[in-house]
Symmetry: D2
Subunit: 348 residues, 4 copies
């Protein structure tokens, strides 16, 4: 176990897409590490690219002043995966040794934590902090950023309700969530959507149109909340899957606009799509996310102090606990059927 | 001139797209009309369709309770144009006479006020209240709804900045404004956009790409705010203008995504578009819009009391005045070059 | 167990102080009760006064339309305690029988649920739903309203930081919490307070002044978040406990201003208090509170359907469960020392 | 007139209380000054104390990056008045000369601009930018910060409405405004207060109680918005004017709580006061304030370029103009009777 104030040096990095609360984690780690344990810190820039290339930035109490309410990450981020780089793991180990880094706190999602696990298995002292706006990480009740994204989506749908009450027009709101529908589920339940479509349940476009038609018979127009990763049952709707972006990736997304087009075609009523996009992952975190991120940071530095490596901090109930990095990354946490069924009560 | 409490009956309608502040106008008209002047009110449903079809709704102090902070319109709206309906104007005059309506307050944009002007010219006692989220109505400094839309757009772009600081990715935010760029101009200036594109100034895509490239050389990624009605100079970018929606209209909009595609293609960097859509016209109005709408309503009922018809209420400086309906509708108020030039200081 | 659509009539009431999310519970109960189970509902007005006096209000799907995002309660509330009224319990039983009410859902805090428990013990079919903005109810991880209150407090303190950075002035923000410091703890942690004072820990004014003095030596001024129920150690600061309000109650609160006065006196620097008061319990609920309240409502009506009375619905982790009403009301859930210790890392 | 890029050095300072939008002014001044005119800048710290003591801070494009959305002022502020300091004006002139400062932009309220006028009269090249959260400066339609303060107050009162609908309790919200009631007037009109009390009109407590009593007869409880500087007619209510703070000043404020006490005493109903305090002047500015502050900044640096000194920039309608510093500071802009009368329609 690391002793107090024994010259311990701790590296910190943030990987993957940005997420409100990253700075709150960094601040908590550094404040407690320096003020209580007397540690020194090394900030790595741009995710795993930092330790891979030895790209560091000063990280002390002064550097974390005022960052608690700010979105993004003062360390920058990237999707660099050192495991896929020839000799990447060895270069990281060499760089950590060269910088005198005794332990590493890696804040990130499935990919970042997967690398963290591999590094731990090859002897690096790593503690992971879970981060995913989609809330699809296993072994933790919630991840920070999710609550902020849900509130942004809810406020958007609250505003759409006004229009839905004044005009006869179907409104579709596309929210984040490629593989898991947590954001759509919570936004839809919080804002009173008439239909919620998630990746875990291929939807029946006939049923969706039926809900829309029945809603149009009331004074109010229908509002549909759809995950970017939601898709119709096999054979329904011809989604343009052939399109590729400048990087050769098949374009994901677009389901919101596709739904609007299909509904117009089938019902003869106007339909409009709103795509929130990156707005959901920017800006100041909610109180829930700031408290969760801060407590994650405090627990992560405690784990370093305890020499309890190979762990990820996690929320269980109201407690912050530590779980194995392997448990955290073994599968995606998707929306269970019974949670979706709860919401279906309000459909139509 | 109408005397106090002489059994005066006043009709009220809201036409065109919805807009935060409509309910605040209705409330002010009714509260002062009933409590101070002793008038009775007739609410017409769904814009000009109401008087055309004699479709009315009760409108008294009880009906307007609690509506001040609520977006939309309790009267509903439509784009029905009675002037284009065979015998429409006569039917309206008959219906008003049949209902004993002595004066009509029409709240709406260019189209609604154009009808109001024609009715006034054919002998109906009309007072107009200007309404356009786009702020493109002549003869008034501002219209309610605009400030709300600008704040919603600004908050969205504020959030995008977080991502722009953490990732190297161009972010485009498409806001409302088909013919006038007021929303884009104010959102872009308030939120610190790197480029603002408006309908009044066909943009040079080469220049836009240049700004984007130069911005990518700094630590920060570029943010572009674009009006839905903005378009490139002749011959640049092949916009898909051939597409038509379910109603046969050529699809407008889509400039945000088109820009993202073009920037990706030309720069080889990722670009992402956010399309705010109807979110900008829903939800609770800002204080500016509530005060403006309330003062418009008070002035409109004063005009009725004064028998001062054929007028539109308007904001000039901090005063609410009355101008001729003809002046209000004779041309669109677009962004003058010098206002755009102010903002250009911050480009790049 | 009650069968589906068998003419079951369910009463609903809301007791105690208002709290964002009450309407979301009512809506979920009624929507699922009517649409899935075919039940009828009776709304009781103003807490326990409703069933005591047989004061009811229509409660159907139409009545709950559009209330999800609205604070307050459409049923009204009161602090009437029928147990303290001569023959109160019998009158309620008679009224329920007379109205044909088979089961009762009582939404409220410690007092309301205590009455619910007594009624259950005397034979009434009751299900409880926990409600307290202070989060001090036992047997549930969180109660709705708390997250909203914390976010309101956090936004206020975020704003105070701006002033603290520009002027040398101590700023005190008094938040709700008479017996438990949960709101202060979360607001203070989320917004980066320099000191947090809670009822569970009598504070040492000398220590507080020390923190304030040390903070004044930096560029930034100190911000203190204090629960209304916090108090100094015995003998410190002469709080005016003698004052009584119009109802003869000794005035609680005032600790924020008292602290400001004491800090000015001892440090010779200006200090200003902000008292958020009722602002914390009004307005639209956050997404967290809307989802929690909705899920509580669904579980409560499920408990009725299951004939599972004498229970309170509760949050445990991410699950909604049922616990005994006796367990829920046996003691107050206060802030444990280790949670306060977490926050102390950031003091000074 | 100063030529472009001729080595012109411009000083900038912010004086008086902080106000959302100060940073937006500074950013606009520096961005246009550097990028368009090629000027250099000298930031003075803490209002007039900066030039008085030669206390400067670097001010270039890098220093103003990212400050547009942030409240407060990066230059700091103070209430130092050099005119009241022995030889103060001469010391400032010497320091400006020593630093090679050719022109000075002073951003502040009545006091700051009064000093600016005196300096101008003694030969210093000064341009003023008006700043007052209270909107009580002459010669400009609005000042930045006011719109932000009004929105914060409105949101608070919106939240109070929820409670007022659920409980029978009078709610008082005290807002800023020592000498002018603009904030109370706009907050009260925007949020639907039942009574608005402002410093310009000593109120009749009997009349206030009458409104409160009559409101209690409806389903809703009364909400009163009161300026901190409002006061009852002579002889009514015994305000404790004898109390003094640590600095010997008679305590201002407290009218909100005094009103609550008086209403409880006279009506026998509960009354609660909320005092927003510094929350109104902190945090991010609204879009209106950011655009206004930015345009003020652009106009101020244009005035410097034009050698047009002794002027203050001002808003008239939608135009930014320049007026004499003497005109701006000759009297306070208070609420005219007719504006108050407009609002009275909604009282009771």
């Amino acid at each position: 176990m690391a002793g107090e104030g024994d010259g311990m040096r701790v590296g910190v990095l943030t990987g993957g897409g940005d997420c409100p609360g990253l700075n709150a984690v960094i601040r908590a780690v550094v404040r407690k590490g320096v003020q209580v344990f007397g540690y020194e810190f090394v900030g790595f820039r741009a995710g795993w690219r930092g330790p891979l290339e030895g790209d560091t930035v000063a990280l002390d109490v002064q550097a974390v002043r005022g960052i608690l309410p700010r979105g993004g990450t003062i360390l920058g981020s990237s999707r660099t995966n050192p495991v896929k780089v020839e000799g990447g793991v060895e270069r990281i180990k060499d760089n950590l040794a060269g910088l005198g880094v005794d332990a590493l706190i890696a804040i990130g999602g499935e990919d970042t934590l997967g690398v963290a696990r591999e590094l731990y298995e090859s002897g690096v002292n790593v503690v992971g902090v879970p981060k995913t706006i989609d809330n699809d990480l296993n072994a933790t009740d919630y991840t920070f950023g999710f609550d902020t994204a849900v509130n942004i989506g809810m406020e958007a749908v609250d505003r759409l309700h006004t229009t839905a009450e004044s005009h006869h027009r179907a409104l579709i709101c596309e929210v984040m969530g490629r593989h898991a529908g947590w954001i759509a589920l919570h936004v839809g339940m919080a804002a009173g959507a008439n239909v919620i479509l998630i990746p875990e349940r291929p939807f029946d476009i006939d049923k969706v149109v039926e809900y829309v038609e029945s809603r149009f018979k009331t004074r109010y127009a229908p509002i549909i909340v759809v995950s970017e990763g939601a898709h119709p049952m096999d054979g329904q709707m011809q989604l343009q899957t052939g399109e590729r972006d400048a990087f050769g990736h098949v374009r994901l997304g677009g389901i919101g606009q596709a739904l609007a087009d299909e509904i117009e075609k089938r019902t003869g009523k106007e339909a409009r799509a709103t795509v929130l996009g990156h707005i959901q992952r920017g800006g100041t975190p909610t109180a829930f996310d700031r408290v969760l991120a801060t407590r994650f940071g405090l627990q992560a530095i405690d784990a370093v102090r305890d020499g309890d490596f190979g762990k990820m901090v996690a929320l269980q109930g109201t407690d912050i606990v530590r779980v194995g990095l392997d448990e955290a990354t073994k599968e995606l946490k998707t929306v269970p059927l019974e949670r979706y069924a709860e919401a279906e009560v309000f459909f139509g």
